[in-house]
């Protein structure tokens, strides 16, 4: 899996080397003892989702990834939906290990990590806990924990290009859960992309305060549309309500997490999607090959971790050509979104002229500002 970007800290590498030199255990046991277990039969993998499997969003994206794995004859994949970020998830993880014999767990919600995975993982050193969210820190976290995440802001940028071309009013809308770095980065990418097409474009943001709040999402969508917005996108767990409302009101929409084209056959433009089936299959192959599983996996378009939804029929040839070009630049790895000068929407310069933050820059992970052109505030 050399094409995946591995961010292993020096301390980590030293630990691994020590392990190799010491007992040679690391190589024998390969992949945290998974290979030994595999010899006896199937590898059992457990997936845990915070919402329903068929939410047309975050959880469905993971479920689709799990379903791709379940086709492999040597894998037994079990999963569970609607597991809250409470002690319940600790019990579900332990249940998968003790009752189903799971050797690898994929607790997919961000809030499962601290304290839940961190509490359960040390009790089961032979089980690998792979968390979606990219929080792994070799200095702080147990060795049998890993994390994976993708730069979904890349396909969001591509959506922004398409939205910029398709908008007639120059007013775009973004319905988002809460002003946390991941979300702000998506909003900023979308805005900068759209404004690279037409500098007069504005993006109005509404924060709903929760990841799954269908009533507020519908209200926000309707009120944005009433204000003249003609392309709507979102960052909530399930984009279903937003995309459906946009379609009903006859405006365009860009999707998120999974493919929502079915929900809006007329107005769906494109969307930012996870490509978990590839990530999960890669993990499965590493396990099958007895390879050591990296503790941190990250990537964007280039690594195949994220993708764009196929263009809807409304998308113009010009928009497609521009979006394809930008995507090709992301694939080549030479596209930098956060290149100065960039001002935030209060007029303050956040990235000065001549300064650039590449995709992997850690500074971007603590984003707390909205870029010029966004109407809204990080105060919610």
């Amino acid at each position: 899996m050399s094409h995946l970007k591995h961010f292993q800290f020096n301390a980590k590498r030293r630990q691994v080397l020590k392990g190799l030199a010491g007992a040679g255990l690391t190589t024998v046991m390969g992949g945290f003892g998974i290979k030994a277990a595999q010899a006896a039969g199937k590898v059992t993998m457990g997936f845990i989702y915070v919402g329903p499997r068929d939410d047309f969003g975050y959880n469905q994206a993971h479920y689709e990834g799990k379903s791709a794995l379940a086709k492999q004859s040597w894998i037994k994949a079990v999963d569970q939906e609607n597991v809250p970020e409470t002690i319940e998830v600790q019990k579900v993880m332990e249940g998968m290990i003790n009752l189903d014999g799971a050797q690898v767990l994929f607790p997919t919600s961000f809030g499962y990590f601290d304290p839940h995975i961190l509490k359960v993982a040390p009790k089961y050193p032979n089980v690998m806990f792979l968390h979606c969210g990219g929080l792994y820190d070799a200095k702080k976290h147990p060795k049998n924990v890993g994390s994976y995440f993708g730069y979904i802001d890349e396909p969001v940028y591509v959506s922004g290009i398409v939205a910029g071309h398709m908008s007639k009013t120059g007013k775009l809308g973004y319905i988002a859960a809460m002003p946390i770095p991941q979300v702000l980065r998506n909003i900023n990418n979308f805005t900068m992309a759209a404004r690279s097409v037409n500098p007069k474009i504005t993006v109005q943001v509404v924060f709903t305060g929760g990841w799954s709040n269908p009533v507020k999402e519908a209200e926000a969508a309707n009120s944005l549309i009433d204000q003249g917005i003609d392309v709507l996108t979102c960052h909530v767990d399930s984009p279903k309500v937003v995309v459906e409302t946009a379609e009903k009101r006859g405006i365009y929409s860009c999707g998120y997490h999974a493919n929502q084209a079915k929900l809006a056959p007329k107005g769906f433009l494109t969307g930012a999607e996870w490509n978990w089936s590839k990530v999960y299959l890669d993990y499965a192959k590493m396990i099958a090959g007895g390879e050591k599983i990296p503790n941190l996996i990250r990537g964007g378009f280039k690594e195949g971790i994220v993708k764009s939804s196929p263009y809807g029929k409304a998308v113009s040839a010009k928009a497609k050509a521009h979006a394809d070009k930008v995507r090709a630049q992301f694939m080549a790895g030479d596209f930098v979104v956060y290149k100065g000068p960039i001002k935030d929407n209060t007029g303050k310069t956040v990235v000065p002229q001549g300064k650039a933050y590449g995709q992997t820059d850690i500074w971007l992970e603590s984003m707390d500002w909205l870029v010029e052109g966004v109407i809204g505030s990080t105060k919610g």
Partner: protein, 345 residues
């Protein structure tokens, strides 16, 4: 049927009927009922592991059930447990942060007291609104839930946020050494003992003290109670306060035993599930214990139903729903039977 055993026997027969109906439901959903029963047993009560699983989930439910059950003896239908959990947890986290340098015991007692006062004042306010302004307690407690959740979300995203909690906004941590431990070698946290003790104390209070007798009198006929010189207002305030304190304590346990911080996960529905348990236990503090364990067991078993039988998550809600309806219906039938037999004698 001996009256003393009624609170246990009535739900028991309702439970038997529920399992028959639930069997029919899973059969229609394409699973084999006998296998499903076996899985429920295995997942909830089959082994020591599953017992720990069940009891851990029952812990907060006993306390939130008390929030509805205590005022119910006065004839009040309070459904504000969720709000009390949230506000209790939030205040407990604040107390924990303030007592970061104190002795762990002091910190835990401080957190517990703070959470009980916060939850108590909240539900006490519901009681006060009822008697002073005649505001319907069900509506006001329901609305308080939304207000509390909004306050929690506002504070953890804004002023109280630990800047390190980037993508899951939370307050600062109360300190690993100040966390509540586990019962013996088990994986059941202390919260279970808190719930058990609270149910026991309140049962004694209601059953064996003049205060309990006074509460039942007010619940039977408030005007008659007032005429016989009982401080009805005070009793109402005190009882609603105690109910809220119990649910507030559940919030403290969530923070001190599970999360270590206050965040949106406090709003996990324990308060609402407590309402169900209180009604199913006919508001009897001791009957709440087995009911909470049963509902905890259903949650625990739901895991296996999903994973081994491909049944949707909602299956456990169906079972809870069937039990709830049948227990309530059986109560009505029992009341009619009792009335009839009373006539004859």
């Amino acid at each position: 049927m001996p009256i003393a055993l009624a609170p246990f026997l009535i739900p028991l027969s309702a439970l038997l009927l529920s399992s028959v109906l639930f069997g029919a439901f899973v059969w229609m959903a394409g699973a084999t009922p006998s296998d499903v029963y076996q899985s429920i047993y295995r997942g909830a009560f089959g082994t020591w592991y599953s017992w720990q699983n069940t009891l851990t989930r029952a812990a907060p439910l006993m306390l939130t059930a008390l929030c509805t059950a205590l005022p119910a003896r006065l004839g009040l239908v309070v459904i504000g447990g969720e709000g009390a959990v949230v506000i209790g947890g939030l205040v407990a986290a604040l107390a924990g942060i303030a007592l970061l340098d104190a002795h762990p015991m002091v910190a835990l007692i401080g957190m517990a007291l703070a959470s009980m006062i916060a939850g108590g004042v909240l539900i006490g306010l519901v009681g006060w609104l009822r008697q002073a302004r005649n505001v319907n307690e069900t509506i006001s407690s329901l609305l308080f839930n939304y207000i509390c959740i909004a306050i929690l979300n506002f504070l953890v995203v804004g002023p109280l946020r630990d800047p390190e909690t980037l993508n899951k906004p939370s307050t600062h941590h109360i300190g690993e050494t100040h966390m509540l431990g586990y019962l013996g070698d088990s994986s059941i946290h202390m919260g279970f003992a808190f719930g058990l003790i609270a149910c026991l104390i309140l049962w004694i209070l209601y059953k064996h003290t003049t205060f309990g007798f006074a509460v039942d009198m007010v619940g039977g006929n408030a005007r008659a109670a007032r005429l016989s010189g009982l401080p009805v207002r005070k009793i109402m305030l005190l009882v609603t306060f105690m109910g809220g304190a119990a649910a507030g304590l559940a919030g403290m346990i969530e923070v001190a035993a599970v999360h270590g911080r206050a965040n949106a996960s406090l709003n996990a529905g324990y308060g609402y599930e407590g309402i169900l348990i209180a009604f199913a236990a006919r508001h009897h503090p001791l009957a709440i214990v087995p009911m909470a364990i049963l509902f905890g067991g259903i949650r625990a078993a739901s895991d296996l139903l999903q994973r081994n039988h491909d049944l949707p998550d909602a299956t456990s809600l169906v079972l809870q729903g069937i039990i709830f309806v049948l227990v309530l219906a059986s109560e009505a039938i029992y009341a009619r039977m009792a009335a009839k037999s009373g006539y004859k004698s």
